[in-house]
Amino acid sequence: MKQEFTITIYTENQVGLLNRIAIIFSRRKINIESLNTSPSEVEGIHRFTIVIDETEEVVRKVVRQIEKQVDVLKAYFNTNDEIIWQELALYKVPTDTIAEKAKVERLLRAYGARAVVIRKDYTIFETTGQREETDTLLNVLGPFGLIEFVRSARVAIIKDSKGFYEKLKEFEQSKPVTRIDSINRSRIEEETIDL
């Protein structure tokens, strides 16, 4: 069954890596729903957040193929209930409608929208939230002469993650550890969920 998965990738900052990662999806004809690149909690290490709609089996294979790339340090995948995520949306509406129509003002307040710029001719509001929230505000503002709308990619934090510092320390050891550990972990919890 297909569902939304958020893929978090820690990488080196290398030109061309975005393409290298993107073609792993396009090769399988998977559409990327959202893609964000940003710094991570570790200096010099970048973090990709990618959202796709796929089956768990396919996501697992894709994540392994991503992690195989030389400049990728680690890749994780999570379902929506395993992450805290947000998106940011901007709405540009004519100022006079807001001023004249009390309903619009109420709506904006109800959705927690914040005015970023107020000018005579237009006002820009911002909301942060999950897809349904930003979408609903988009739909209700539509009839009131919405001029422009834009939404950012998803950013997400993995609930169970202890951060990347420890992993990085391990990776920076010159001899890749041939760890012979006997921990009894279930088959499904392979390295990809090894946070």
């Binding site: 030109v15 393409n19 030389v70 400049d71 990776f171 920076e172 041939t178 550990d181 006997s182």
Partner: protein
């Protein structure tokens, strides 16, 4: 470049001198023990070729006739020597001509470092003369690629390139160097080998519990079956592999790229897997109780229809590349790691055993196959020769000691089925990509990789015409390769499919050939062409014993088919003997 923590630093020379980027490239190659480069010059790589002029005594350069020939030669060299193949090409068309070879090396895990020239950095993105976006074109077909526009990067990037190409699961690396960086003088402080990149783990961690579980499962198995691929050769684990199957009494079958890792005559070698593999290995895949896959990736040509593949068996999968585990076949026990390390760990834990009645089933199947297919292939009643009898005769002359390089198609399947091998790294073929035109240039490279060995390129009448220009490379460098053309005057494999599945609608498979002996003569290569059985032995002997390159064309039956065959979309037990 990123800052990598490079430890265990080994620096070749402590000099601090001003040299050009081009010289730095050549110094890197020397430091990496490169002795041969296959290449073709052009505008954007001229500074490197100019520097090469002064390094002629340290680095041999083979001028090929087409960049595709260059990269296939690099592949042949890497496959016969186990070292990294090095290829030079210029920007634009020179670089794009490498793409087929890169894709081939990528899918067949062949270590290559390809260096392409690029236009001046200030011209990048301007559609300059002979500019192509080589990095983006080659991204899907390289293990890693990188563009250099500053000479200071050259030593560290090349060190990284060689490390990535040969470590872990090997693969092709492409380094694109802009012309200004080749010319640029910079302060060179020596070459530091790379043996660690923090974002790259060539070998996954070995998990002891899986080793133990695998051994336990093998010990309990009544009908264990080992299938092995090129991982055994790439990991140089032939001895470890043999010890493993011998202790467990485990019958073992090979994929096309695993061929020659285990000698043909080994009692536990039960033959070839896959679409045109042997009967026993295919049908018994669906009867074994434990399937042990070593360094192979369950290609669709091996598995046939996945939902009818080894459903009754527990699967143990040993692979160095974690992304291969569960990709096509779900593994019950995933043994991540280099099989050179994991195999001995499992061998230690398994019981000394024999599975006589089970192994005899392979023998019974083999008898059946001999009766239905092999006998007729070896002793045809028709006046036309079969490809099989040619290979059989060749075996008698080479005694299984030659390197056999094959192209793609019927002759490839027949050669892999019937050629004998006594030692590893002896079968060189384009397995994953199925690149027609591979064999002739790959044979050139294979000869340079193993100069003391006899190299026979077996090629069809289709494939030879795709890279026939490399006869020029053979001529100019006196490369002692034997070229055996099996001519059936058809694009035989496609014709076979059209016969079996398209009601004999032979659509554009009728291919004419030139007079190959005359063509060879034009290149000052001796040759002969035969169509009669009584000439076969003597002609093959002459080819092998001839001092230098030799081309022998053998006309074989026009409409012979390769059997057995697992038709596409069928399960392995639905293998057809006719």
């Amino acid at each position: 470049m990123q800052t990598e923590s490079i430890q265990d630093q080994k620096t070749t020379d402590q000099e601090s001198i001003d040299i050009t980027g081009s010289e730095a490239v050549l110094k890197a190659l020397i430091a990496e023990n490169v002795d041969i480069i296959f290449g073709y010059p052009g505008g954007a790589i001229m500074p490197i070729y100019d520097a090469l002029y002064d390094y002629n005594d340290k680095l041999e350069h083979i001028l090929v006739r087409h960049e595709q020939g260059g990269i296939h030669a690099g592949q042949g060299y890497a496959r016969s020597s186990g070292k990294v193949g090095v290829v030079f090409a210029t920007s634009g068309p020179g670089a794009t001509n490498l793409v087929t070879g890169l894709a081939d090396a990528m899918i067949d895990s062949t270590p290559l470092v390809c260096i392409t020239g690029q236009v001046f950095a200030h011209l990048l993105g301007t559609d300059a003369f002979q500019e192509t976006d080589v990095i983006n074109i080659t991204t899907p077909v390289t293990k890693w690629n990188h563009q250099i526009t500053d000479a200071n990067e050259i030593p560290s990037v090349l060190a990284k390139a060689f490390y990535i190409a040969k470590s872990g699961r090997p693969g092709p690396v492409l380094i694109d160097i802009s012309k200004n960086a080749q010319i640029q003088k910079f302060n060179y402080t020596g070459y530091t080998y790379c043996n660690h990149i923090r974002s790259y783990r060539p070998k996954p961690n070995i998990r002891k519990e899986y080793i133990e579980a695998a051994a336990e499962m093998i010990n309990k198995a009544e009908r264990p079956f080992v299938i092995f691929g090129q991982g055994v050769i790439l990991g140089e684990a032939e001895a470890e592999f043999k010890a493993f199957i011998e202790k467990g009494g485990l019958p073992a079958a090979w994929t096309i790229l695993g061929l020659s890792a285990l000698e043909t005559d080994h009692p536990l070698n039960v033959g070839m897997l896959g679409m045109h593999g042997n009967y026993g290995p295919n049908v018994l895949t669906n009867e074994c109780d434990v399937l042990i896959a070593v360094g192979m990736r369950f290609d669709d040509r091996v598995t046939g229809r996945l939902d009818r593949y080894a459903k009754q068996a527990k699967v143990i999968h040993l692979d160095i590349d974690p992304s291969e585990i569960d990709k096509n076949i779900k593994a019950d026990i995933p043994v991540w790691g280099d099989c050179k390390e994991t195999l001995p760990m499992i061998t230690e834990l398994i019981d000394l055993k024999q599975h006589d009645s089970w192994t005899n089933k392979f023998k019974d199947c083999n008898e059946k196959e001999i009766e239905a297919v092999i006998y007729d292939e070896m002793h045809p009643t028709s006046e036309h020769m079969t490809m099989g009898e040619v290979i059989d005769q060749l075996n008698e002359i080479t005694k299984g000691n030659a390197i056999i390089v094959t192209d793609v198609g019927q002759h490839q399947m027949v050669a892999c089925r019937y050629a004998k091998f006594n030692q590893s790294k002896s079968n060189i073929t384009s397995g994953g990509l199925g690149t027609m035109g591979f064999a002739l240039p790959a044979a050139i490279g294979a000869k340079y990789g193993a100069p003391e060995r006899t190299v026979v390129a077996i090629i069809g009448d289709g494939g030879i015409q795709m890279t026939i220009q490399e006869l020029g490379t053979i001529m100019q460098n006196n490369v002692n390769v034997k070229i055996l053309i099996l001519n059936n005057r058809f694009l035989g494999m496609v014709r076979q499919w059209q016969q079996l599945f398209n009601d004999k609608r032979y659509s554009f498979v009728n291919i004419e050939s030139p007079d190959y002996v005359a063509v060879a003569k034009g290149y000052r290569i001796e040759g002969n062409s035969i169509s009669k059985r009584e000439d076969l032995k003597q002609s093959l002997t002459k080819m092998i014993e001839h001092n230098g390159a030799y081309l022998l064309e053998v006309f074989v039956g026009k409409e012979n088919n390769v059997f057995p065959m697992v038709p596409q979309g069928c399960g392995v037990s639905e293998i057809r003997l006719k």
